[in-house]
């Protein structure tokens, strides 16, 4: 009798006391999640609300589509990190030499290749003579980028290459959305504002990007843009029998808040001697001219984002990257050969969200860092050449440094 009472007791105690039997939390620098330091409890809570919407899968009953690319933010921005090539978005247009037609009446500019049941998905029309693909970027640390002043972005610009280093980063001026409310640090230029989000810097704010993503990527209308997206070839106002707007401003604002408050990726092995050496070389060979390490935010309405130094390794400016990366697709204020320098933070964790491999550059064409560099041309030609003249050990050190980001 005592035997099995004690057996049951011991087992029960073992079960209850073994919180260690449950999977441990990975170290914060190993994951692409978590909030910027210094948020209030109320802000932490708001972040979690946004997190849930970011992971929400939209179904037919929620107003998905009628045409769409994916069903949730997190299918593309996998674990807040870089996306997988299978979820790339496709944009298309017709280049007529002197003019560029985004083929809006044929389903352009962005292709929605999927549709809800009984509806016709979009396909590439025969007129599309330019097709470009975009891999989803990491969405960590965006709050810091959003909190930069226009002035600090302009401080790095050198449109006419006055310093003669071959690099002429220029700000991308775009028309703001109808719901854009400028903050004190936004500086208008003939009614246009500096775009800082998107691969060609065509979005001024995170709000613009989120409203766009909901509609163009998932087919979800919101208070900010209540008009559903239809396949124009199958007829407007047909297909998705869910009342618009399909999500309220609450959902949109929570998503924006989530984007603003995801922390910047933390570094790993930053003190490793090879990493330190690589970092030095990264500066010496001119990578830093575009991939600028240090920035300081302006005063922000989120205290934890005010006057903060952060290290994205980008200047948020457009650069001519040469013919190999020219996608033939002008967008917003950017020419077809121009790309906004991407932040390099989180690069070392790319494989953890891209299916165990690495897919770099705007369309994931490079499966490693060296390959990504082999495509660097135009303004980055000199830095690229300098990289490939480094010794093998030095190249490894640069790569090791990049993998520590």
């Amino acid at each position: 009798m005592l035997k099995y009472i004690s057996l049951l007791l011991i087992t029960a105690i073992a079960l209850v006391s073994c919180s260690k039997l449950v999977p441990p939390e990975p170290a914060p620098e190993e994951v692409l999640a978590g909030t910027v330091p210094g948020l209030t409890q109320a802000q932490e809570k708001e972040h979690l609300v946004g997190d849930a919407f970011f992971g929400k899968v939209f179904g037919t009953a929620d107003g998905l589509g009628p045409v769409f690319v994916q069903t949730t933010c997190s299918n593309c921005h996998v674990g807040n990190g870089k996306g997988h090539p299978s979820t790339m978005v496709t944009r298309f247009g017709n280049n007529q030499g002197s003019a560029f037609d985004y083929l809006n009446n044929k389903g352009g500019a962005q292709l929605q290749p999927r549709a809800i049941a009984g509806y016709v998905p979009e396909y590439l029309p025969s007129e599309a003579n330019v097709i470009t693909r975009r891999l989803a970027p990491i969405v960590m640390g965006l709050g810091y980028i959003a909190a930069l002043s226009d002035q600090s972005i302009l401080a790095n610009a050198d449109s006419a290459d006055l310093n003669g280093d071959g690099i002429s980063g220029r700000p991308c001026y775009v028309d703001p959305s109808s719901f854009f409310i400028p903050q004190s640090f936004h500086i208008p230029n003939n009614g246009k504002y500096i775009g800082r989000f998107g691969k060609k810097a065509e979005k001024v704010t995170l709000l613009d990007q989120v409203v766009f993503a909901l509609k163009q990527d998932i087919g979800i209308t919101s208070d900010f843009d209540p008009q559903d997206i239809f396949n124009p070839l199958s007829g407007n106002f047909t297909g998705d029998q869910v009342a618009d707007p399909e999500v309220s401003s609450y959902v949109v604002n929570s998503l924006v808040f989530y984007m603003r408050t995801l922390k910047a990726p933390e570094r790993r092995n930053a003190e490793d001697p090879d990493v330190k050496e690589g970092e030095k070389l990264f500066g010496q060979i001119g990578c830093e001219s575009c991939h600028k390490p240090d920035h300081v935010t302006a005063v922000s309405d989120i205290e934890a984002l005010s006057n903060k130094t952060f290290h994205p390794f980008s200047d948020f400016l457009l650069h001519d990257m040469g013919p190999a990366l020219d996608d033939g697709y002008p967008e917003g204020g950017a020419a077809s050969n121009e790309w906004r320098t991407p932040a390099l933070w989180g690069l070392g964790l790319a494989e953890t969200t891209q299916g165990g491999k690495m897919f770099l550059l705007h369309d994931g064409r490079a499966t490693g860092i060296e390959q990504a560099l082999s495509f660097h041309g135009g303004e980055s030609q000199n830095a690229r050449n300098a990289f490939f003249t480094l010794s093998e050990t030095q190249r490894k050190q640069v790569i090791k440094f990049l993998m520590s980001l």
Binding site: S6, I10, A12, V22, P24, T60, S86, A115
Partner: protein, 400 residues
Amino acid sequence: MKKTLLYFVYSLLPTAYCLLPTSSYSQQDSSSSSQNAIYNRPFISLGKTNTAVGGYLEGNTNYFSEDGVTEGFSMELRRFNIFLYSRIHERIKFISELEFEHGTEEIALETALLDFEFHPAFNLRAGILLPQIGLVNANHDSPKWDFVERPISSTAIIPTTLSEVGVGFHGKFFSNAGTVAYDVYLMNGLQDGIILNEEGRTHLASGKNPEMFGEDNNGVPMFNARLAFSNSKLGEIGLSWYGGVYNSFRLDGVEVDAKRKLSLTAFDLSTAIRKLKIQGELAFVKIQVPEGLEELYGTNQYGAFLELGHPILKKKMLGFEDAQLSVHLRAEKADFNQGTFVFDGSKIGDEVSALSFGLSWRPLAGSVIRANYRYHWIYDFFGNPPAHLGGIQVGIATYF
């Protein structure tokens, strides 16, 4: 971690010590036949009248963590089910089951059916019934199982508990070699939500819809059949099928979409080697989805589980004459999308594997106190390094 594991193993040692010769295991498991399961409940034999009321209750405590993220410790009253049985005539029986899940969060009439026995080999069944798919769906009462959770293949692949409005026949043929049991039913069937749902994957359970008890969504019934063979040596093996057109291709008589079919095939096994009880299920889904959605909503899925149970002590305990303590192990896997990526032909992830082990103590055959440890490896769609979910559940379930 190592230390805790050691401690856990140590805690099982007294169990080993207790491995004394015990009497036969047979009476413990009376649940093996899926077909009879609804009548194989203690309350039915208790009553002296033609009508009996019974039910079961299941409550659990859970502590889970996914990669260090935990909601902490929580308790739930998962199920409170009431059965009403009536023997209208020696060969006409009525049985129903009303389920309250998580308090009154979900209330469902899981069963309400009539069985007319024309002959043991030929019974008419009509009403809200449990389709015979695999091992668990028609035999899912919590007190019969030794793990708190149902197997993944039985919930995320086979959508247990699936109950349907349907009509059909069932019966048994007896021979010296064993018993053959068959079930065939027509039913309204699962609906559109199988795809384009909030799960973001092909998920049969999302095709349930309260309206399916009122009318069919497309006017084409689904079909279910199971063929089982059992004898005292082999135990029972079953082969079952469920399927048909699932989408609303017709509205008000107007064709608005192409017809799309679903097919769910399952093999199940329930047997014993000496005192080792073995149960398992293997289920395959094949489904047609709209063009362009094949990658996102897999057209092929499978799931399987294998569960082993062994008594370690069977004797009078705490005044219960036939009490039994047993250990259990379950391995399971589900692949929600067996497809490949269009872009490079590599395999899509979207899989989960799990291992569980546990102890269960049954003071009576129909009452169980069980504790189990469960560990999941969860692979996302892209095959990234898996998320790990682990946790402990302690629960109680009993017929009344």
